[in-house]
Symmetry: C2
Subunit: 191 residues, 2 copies
């Protein structure tokens, strides 16, 4: 149950057995069905999630349309970091796209961990740095690449998205209509 | 010389006198004239700057035009966090808009500090979190507000920008031509 999350931690900090036990005791286990909303816009995101199994997407509701911003798979951490840090209501929605098992760490528990075991600050720093780089790289993608380039990039860089995510969400993620994605796919096949 | 930077640290972590001395010894003092380029696109940004006095702007060169992304004043930290974290060449330029004194911390020294005095990890975490919130809030501004709303927001939230930054940079920052800013200012005066 906790192997994956402990492996993930081990990339950043070394923990002995008692420290691992301490950390694991702060976690809550949650299981979601396919297509459940884990977080809805307007709620404060008060947790960090580690995905043990399954897949999440997050999206914005804009003028009645769902605007898909990202996909997350097993072995990754996820939160609405903005809402989590500021306590402001979230502007986004997090939904499972498959049956999904997560380990959840509440804001209260995370701050207890920082106070009681300061070596976790390093983990917090790395996560914040990665969150920063994630927003920057999405900005860059939207500002500098055409829809076709974005799609080719997904094929190259993120095979899990291609294998497990329905086409209409992929279209939404690269910022185009499903019909345009079909046209792009056709173009690429003909090249 | 070091009062401001130590006050800034004190918001995040408590340091005794010997820890303060240790930290101050890692800093380099640099003075720049008005309109100097501190960082040029293509260079790797290998330092974090604390502004003791003066003012910086950072901008992108896009199709021969300078696109101003942000202004920073005394008592703030600044770096191209993207280039700093990844070691990739920077896409942006950092320029002084006034005679500016900074305290500089090299990447090498920061990593030494993290290793030798792990309580600084908390500072690193807070800075990364703030960098994340900074990018998010700029995204939100560009996505959700008109140029006039952006300008009114600057007047309300950032008096230093209004007092010390030339109008053509302010126009560039809110994403419009100087002529459009004159029109907006006229509209606001007439209301």
């Amino acid at each position: 149950m906790f192997d994956k999350i402990l492996n993930s931690l081990a990339q950043f900090i070394l923990l002995d057995k008692s420290e691992q036990d301490y950390f694991v005791n702060k976690l809550q286990v949650r299981q979601f069905k396919k297509k459940e909303l884990i977080l809805q816009e307007g709620q404060v995101c008060d947790n960090v999630y580690f995905i043990n199994k399954g897949c999440l997407r997050y999206f914005y509701n804009i003028d009645g349309e769902e605007n898909t911003a990202q996909f997350f798979f097993e072995n990754t951490w996820y939160t609405d970091f903005d809402s989590f840090l500021t306590g402001r209501p979230s502007r986004l929605n997090i939904q499972t796209l498959e049956k999904t098992d997560v380990l959840m760490l509440s804001s209260k528990n995370i701050h207890e961990i920082y106070d009681e075991m300061p070596k976790f600050e390093k983990l917090g720093r790395k996560m914040a740095e990665n969150a920063f780089l994630g927003v920057r790289s999405r900005n860059e993608m939207l500002e500098n690449f055409t829809a076709e380039e974005r799609y080719l990039n997904l094929i190259k860089e993120r095979p899990k998205v291609m294998e497990r995510i329905p086409q209409h969400y992929i279209a939404s993620y690269i910022g185009i209509k499903p019909e345009s994605l079909s046209r792009i796919r056709k173009n690429i096949m003909e090249k």
